[in-house]
Amino acid sequence: MLRSRWLQLVGLLFVFVFAAVMAIQQLAIPPSSGFSRQAAAMFNVQLFLLPLFLLTIGSMNIAGDAESGWLHLLKTYPMKMSRYIAGKYMALAGAFLLIALLSMGAVLAISGIAGALSGMGVYIVTSLLLIFIFSALALLLGSIAKNRLHALALSLVFWASWLLLIPYALMAIGTALAGHVVKTFIIFNIHVNPVEWVRFCFFLATGNGDALGPAFYGLTGFYTEPLGVVTAIAVTSLWIVLPLSVAGMVLKRRERQT
């Protein structure tokens, strides 16, 4: 997978973007603890870019296998579908972990020159969450897609909905609905929208749950208790396990059909 020219470009892009954001934010803002614009900027770059490239590259890779008949060929080998899925998942996640590592190296080096730095631990945690969850989702989208172009389209639609369209829709309906209904929708969205889930985990992990406002005091309170932490881990695992198993099922059925 690492041989792909496309992925090498993505790698370069990540290193460059993270280093640039780091340098710009660092020079502009004195570092402060808590939820600062610097922390938010770093995190938003992750939220925008990692899912986008994970979904498109991952899903097109799987769809490409099906399209080119490679998957059909695989059937003739004594190889289980679960191993195929696991292998693809690991290759995709591994490649992006390497990219995340490179970006971190760049950020560290820049911070060494430009000055103070905080939140590296959080950067690692959110990278891991994003990579593991969205690699699984990428395989699912790729297995559903009819061909590579379809996979690309699906990825973009989901990426845009999760990241932008659903929040805008929530903000728009909020102008017409009662506050407590909006709040219910937002809490619902946190659990069914992987981008929001990672974002919520980011606030929990940095101890900045209060930044979400008093309306969510109860929710962040729950997720910082032991039971809540267990629930959070369960929800996160579900986001990884569920897409992978569904992807396996879909591919198996397609195998039988062909």
Binding site: F158, S161, L177, A178, H180, V181, T184, F185, F188, P214
Partner: protein
């Protein structure tokens, strides 16, 4: 995606159609602040509460803040409003409570108006040697709140 939209619409319909529940909720000392003056509610025994027609709850630290809010809001949105009983710390519907303006009594925003279950209870409290003036709810809407400018 379609499924989600379906779920979202279902939730919306369910929450939209349900009868709004006009029972007051408990005060949460950690997060509740007065919707008018922003003070956190540390003296629960003076707190007031308003439930909007759409089911949103607003809390107030002092009866005066509630009245100020009602005076300025769109009356069509007013579902129900409650004030804590000065003696029993229970929620009273403001329509059914009786009021005493007692300048000697401290309240969080110095509005000095206490609420009682009914006129008898208020009168009894006054008869107990307290200084004050018996008021009805309508008096409050146009009341000149003492030192409040």
């Amino acid at each position: 995606m379609k499924k989600w939209i379906l779920i979202a619409i279902t939730v919306m319909i369910l929450s939209g159609c349900g009868e709004t529940d006009f029972t007051p909720r408990a005060i949460e000392a950690e997060t509740d602040i007065c919707a008018v003056c922003n003070m956190s509610i540390t003296h629960e025994e003076y707190a007031a509460q308003l439930i909007e027609e759409d089911g949103d709850h607003l809390v107030f630290d002092d009866l005066g803040c509630l009245i100020e809010h009602i005076n300025e809001m769109d009356q069509a949105e007013l579902g129900a409003a409650f004030i804590k009983d000065a003696q029993t710390n229970e929620w009273l519907n403001i329509e059914r409570a009786a009021y005493v303006y007692a300048p000697g009594e401290w309240t969080p925003m110095s509005y000095h108006v206490l609420a009682f279950e009914n006129t008898d209870a208020a009168q009894q409290w006054l008869d107990g040697g307290q200084q004050g003036e018996l008021l009805a709810l309508d008096d409050l809407y146009g009341f000149d709140w003492g030192n409040h400018h």
